[in-house]
Symmetry: C2
């Protein structure tokens, strides 16, 4: 509810009308899919965000796929993932899209750099790896089954931590001069990186909160404007 | 034409009827898309393979996307890529699917192993990496812009070479006991791995030819039978 409130407030500030569709906890997958399909067909709606994770009794993938690709401003459909993976026009998942904007803003040259992504979720780890790969980074995906995370992080020019485990990436493992992106958020305003030790070695590092988080919402709004422009015939992709 | 002949011969042997649709070199993207859409709607066709690469004037992605997902037995659509990436039911790209069957047949335990994929094509490198990741390997994607390929290969428990550069992976860089899959094919029956030196260090290694290649066709046929079974209502996924 906090996230949703923040997104609605940012929409209002940017002049984007938002509509909150609240469904009861007892909603079934079929009902949720129907709601999303109906919003997909509603000409008055240009972008759709399904606030997730959804309840465990819901088939989240089925729900995501009910969002029309042209309104998928949160970049959660398989079609959007394919576009990110194959370098085609489309909407990025918002957090990965925000991370790429941060890297661009600070002119981080990715070609040939070793980028290590810790986490492999469908919305964050997997797509950010694909976006880094499309920019010619050498990309390693690590996750809970990775046996020697420290050794792999030690080789990374760019680290993206996106797993949701507090301070999993230790500062002592950060290569001096590396770029560290912390996309984790854990209770108590703690990221996936041990910030205090990592900052002494990293060339660039994002704080938690105030780093990746605000970029996620910014990309959501930017993509919503893009979606509306295209649907209203005001711009091409 | 050689590949197409081989596939048709293997179909005939397996009792699968195949239809060859030859188009002139002057065919446009729109004409190819129309042909594929028409085959997608043809109830007498259960699987569609677009022999690729297509000519440089063709938008290959647009052509692939004209194949109905339920007939995409070659696993080339974005929808199939999404299914491979997210561990959902669907058709694998045939060469990656064949590689996974080989690894399973030889009981290679992938969980926690470091798999290095050399190559990042939409049909081979990217999907095989996603399939390995789904099996809990730590996955690194290397490619033409990777700066220190040798050092990364030296860390690999599993190497998949899929780039189309003769003997790019040197035997001396193969970690003793590693599993080496050579999905490359270069003129003169040469793979992407220096087989003669790599075989002295690898625990398991595929030859070229006769390794991954036959598996690709086998998976194509198996997936065609699956597609037909589903479309004819003989089996669920």
């Amino acid at each position: 509810m906090t996230y949703v409130r923040m997104k609605r407030a940012r929409c209002a500030k940017a002049g984007i009308e938002s509509r909150l569709v609240s469904l009861p906890a007892t909603t079934t997958t079929a009902e949720l899919v129907e709601t999303l399909q109906s919003l997909s067909q509603d000409a008055g709606v240009h972008g759709i965000l399904l606030q997730h994770p959804v309840g465990p009794h819901i088939d989240e993938r089925a729900a995501f796929e009910a969002i029309a690709p042209e309104k998928d401003v949160d970049g959660v459909t398989m079609s959007s993932f394919g576009a990110m993976s194959f370098g085609l026009p489309g909407f990025a998942s918002c957090t990965p899209g925000g991370i790429m904007r941060l890297l661009d803003e600070y002119e981080v040259d990715l070609a040939g750099q070793h980028a290590v992504v810790v986490g492999r979720s469908a919305i964050l780890g997997k797509p950010v790896g694909m976006l880094l790969l499309a920019r010619d980074a050498t990309v390693t995906y690590c996750h809970s089954r990775t046996t020697d995370l420290a050794a792999i992080v030690q080789e990374a020019d760019v680290v993206v931590a996106a797993v949701g485990r507090p301070r999993l990436v230790r500062g002592e493992d950060v290569k001096p001069g590396a770029v560290v992106i912390d996309a984790g958020y854990n209770p108590g305003n703690v990221g996936d990186v041990d910030f205090d030790t990592a900052r002494t070695r990293a060339r660039l590092i994002t704080p938690v909160p105030g780093g990746v988080g605000p970029m996620t919402i910014a990309v959501l709004l930017a993509q919503t404007v893009d979606a509306a422009s295209i649907q209203l015939g005001l711009a091409g992709r």
